[in-house]
Symmetry: C2
Subunit: 414 residues, 2 copies
């Protein structure tokens, strides 16, 4: 399990771990008179001696005295790796080659990351750079982020929150692809990048991703083969939550996938193509979800065997289908069965995704009322939070209210 | 480094890891006729068989097949520990005894947590349950939280964000004490609880807390002995950032410290006492910061030897003193020297704390303009974010703007 972010301590020419802006000591000394020079020098000498005894050495110098059990780049040899190659690029435009070999070499050079390498997950999420239009939008995003941090803490995953628009033309749902790519390249220690939308939360804190199911695949989304290949429905899968393996296949796939985006000259053409292939897609713009469905359906032989359409648990659970208010509010289990979607008797959906609620803009789909969205989110957040609060001795007795009470000592165990 | 939160998997009578609300199978079966019963039973049988092959076993059952390098309670023996004692309590009122022994026993029972136990840090922060009054308040809190998550990821610390009011009468700055206590008790694997206010951020992502300096102490705050013991200034220390050791001394100390709070009958009396002892305290209410200064100054023999007043680096850096706009905006180092506060020639303050800016309520101290606060925060957040973005191949070229650009391949190394 990665505890220290290795990319941060790597000293590549391309990507450094810190931004140092400073004038050299020389210019300060020479630009003043001797008296000031002597005084300054003495002061610096005193402080320097003082700090050499008290201040830890900055972490970009190997510190072999550091007592830590964390995989720590400071203890691994600082050999040149692919990061030193000026051709190496993190942006969507820069094609990356031989990534599998590069990752393998990197792991060889950083043996402290070898343990757990095959299962290491980096969770990535994020939101827009500027404040939300919805007055409670950022508050909701904060709560959804806390939820993800809680889940990752419990399961030993690293998590990275992106709030920068990495490509000026890749807005909205397309914005995640430059982030996922950069995360892959910056984190060769991670086997999987786990993208989770800002409006999705973990509602089963116990549940662990069954990675062994995906050992022969490189991309996992929630979906149903029949709805993609036969019914050609744009909601036959959901692109708001996915697991993508950190490998060359994924980089190549994302190149193709992202080539349907607004930053390319083919954007409008793709909008038309996707809409004519998936007849229930009701908006004209090329979107990543239909794009993915298209690649699975139409470029099947190229990609489909490496893409796992998961439907046996709520890898991504649509909140309306989960009947959030009933499930979480009325303390009752609901057994839902329909078509390809055998949901089963799950007490707690793994992930509940408030698609269509748009917490940040507030521009929710008119199928739902604002109240249904916000109350649903509140209940789901408190439901999840109870699973985290309980070990701390507290709980929300009423999921519709943020108030907490200490857990009574005679409270029955789950 | 804790990867899986152990308290979550402990199965105590007091604090369980999940809230299960369900009707028993029995009531469903008996309440309907035979035909329905048969159909329901068949469906459940099919689904049950299906899930037994596909769904992972819930994590509160030991899963010895799990391949993980994370310290995992599932692999430790499920013996009874102090959590099974119904007298055990997490709230401020419940006195806890023999905590050192209990922690020691817990660690013996959970050998997977032994490695790194002496340095394990749990960072704790948080904010109010409801949306901020300031329209950009939650947005700022979200960014400050992301900053903390970034720092913790890089250094292998767990982080817990609290947004519940655990004691109805302990509001404002007093609200953190029930949270810190609950965190201690719920995380016996953590040697230190590291409280960081919601309006404080890490501006040096490289810097590691020099724990060896504090090996003989139980509480660390930023402060100056002379200002506490001689000048009796309420700002002789700052209680917005502290390291507190997870031990009986700390529980006892917090009992005394919190006894000055609004939940006690002595609250008003303490307000007067603190104000008369620390003459520059200008507001009447008993506050935790002056309370701490009081205990160090007046109950010196009882507590002071275990409390470290750190001033040799920005364990907590007051933003105004750091001259945020100049330091971060004009790319210039500032050498500050004054009295007991020898700050030294630090390129990047470890922590920058926007005391007095009140991002959530927006009710900033009138010493500062709103612009100075918000622009200062923006610059500091982007300054810190650059240290995280760089390894991902991007940076904010202008700290006053959230825009990013890819790092050019010829960009000089730091």
């Amino acid at each position: 399990m990665v505890s220290s972010d290795p990319s941060y301590h790597t000293v590549p020419t391309m990507a450094k771990s810190s931004t140092h802006f400073h004038r050299s000591k020389t210019s300060i000394f020479l630009s003043d008179g001797c008296l000031f020079l002597g005084g300054a020098f003495s002061a610096l000498l005193i402080v320097g001696v003082f700090f050499s005894f008290t201040t830890p050495i900055p972490s970009n110098i190997p510190n072999l005295g550091s007592v830590t059990t964390n995989p720590d780049l400071r203890l691994d040899p600082p050999d040149r790796t692919f990061y030193d190659d000026p051709e190496m690029g993190y942006t969507m435009e820069k094609k990356v080659h031989n990534w599998d070999k590069k990752r393998e070499e990197w792991l060889k050079h950083h043996p402290s990351f070898a343990a757990g390498a095959k299962e290491r997950i980096m969770t990535v999420t994020g939101s827009q750079p500027k404040p939300c239009k919805n007055p409670i939008g950022d508050h909701l995003l904060l709560r959804f982020f806390k939820n993800k941090v809680d889940y990752c803490r419990l399961h030993g995953y690293d998590i990275y929150y992106n709030n920068a628009l990495l490509h000026p033309k890749m807005f909205g749902y397309w914005a995640k692809y430059p982030v996922v790519k950069a995360a892959m390249l910056a984190h060769p220690e991670a086997e999987w990048i786990y993208w989770v939308d800002s409006d999705a939360l973990f509602t089963d804190m116990d549940f662990k991703l069954p990675l062994e199911r995906y050992k022969d695949h490189n991309l996992v989304v929630h979906g149903w083969p029949r709805l993609i290949h036969e019914k050609r429905s744009w909601t036959g899968l959901n692109a708001g939550v996915f697991l993508i393996r950190n490998c060359q296949w994924s980089l190549d796939f994302m190149d193709v996938w992202a080539s349907m985006g607004p930053q390319t000259p083919n954007y409008e053409k793709w909008g038309k193509t996707l809409r004519s292939t998936f007849k229930d897609k009701f908006f004209p713009e090329s979107d990543d979800q239909t794009g993915l469905a298209y690649l699975i359906a139409i470029e099947k032989d190229k990609w489909a065997d490496k893409i796992y359409l998961e439907s046996e648990y709520f890898f991504e659970g649509y909140w309306e289908e989960i009947k959030v208010s009933e499930r979480y509010g009325e303390l009752r289990e609901k057994f839902v069965r329909g078509g390809d979607e055998v949901v089963g008797r799950l007490k707690r959906p793994f992930i509940t995704h408030f698609t269509g609620c748009q917490p940040c803009s507030g521009d929710h789909n008119h199928m739902y009322s604002a109240d249904a969205c916000w109350n649903g989110m509140l209940r789901a957040l408190n439901f999840a939070d109870n699973q985290v609060l309980r070990p701390h001795g507290y709980m929300h007795p009423d999921l519709g209210d943020n108030g907490v009470t200490p857990i009574p000592s005679d409270y029955p165990p789950p």
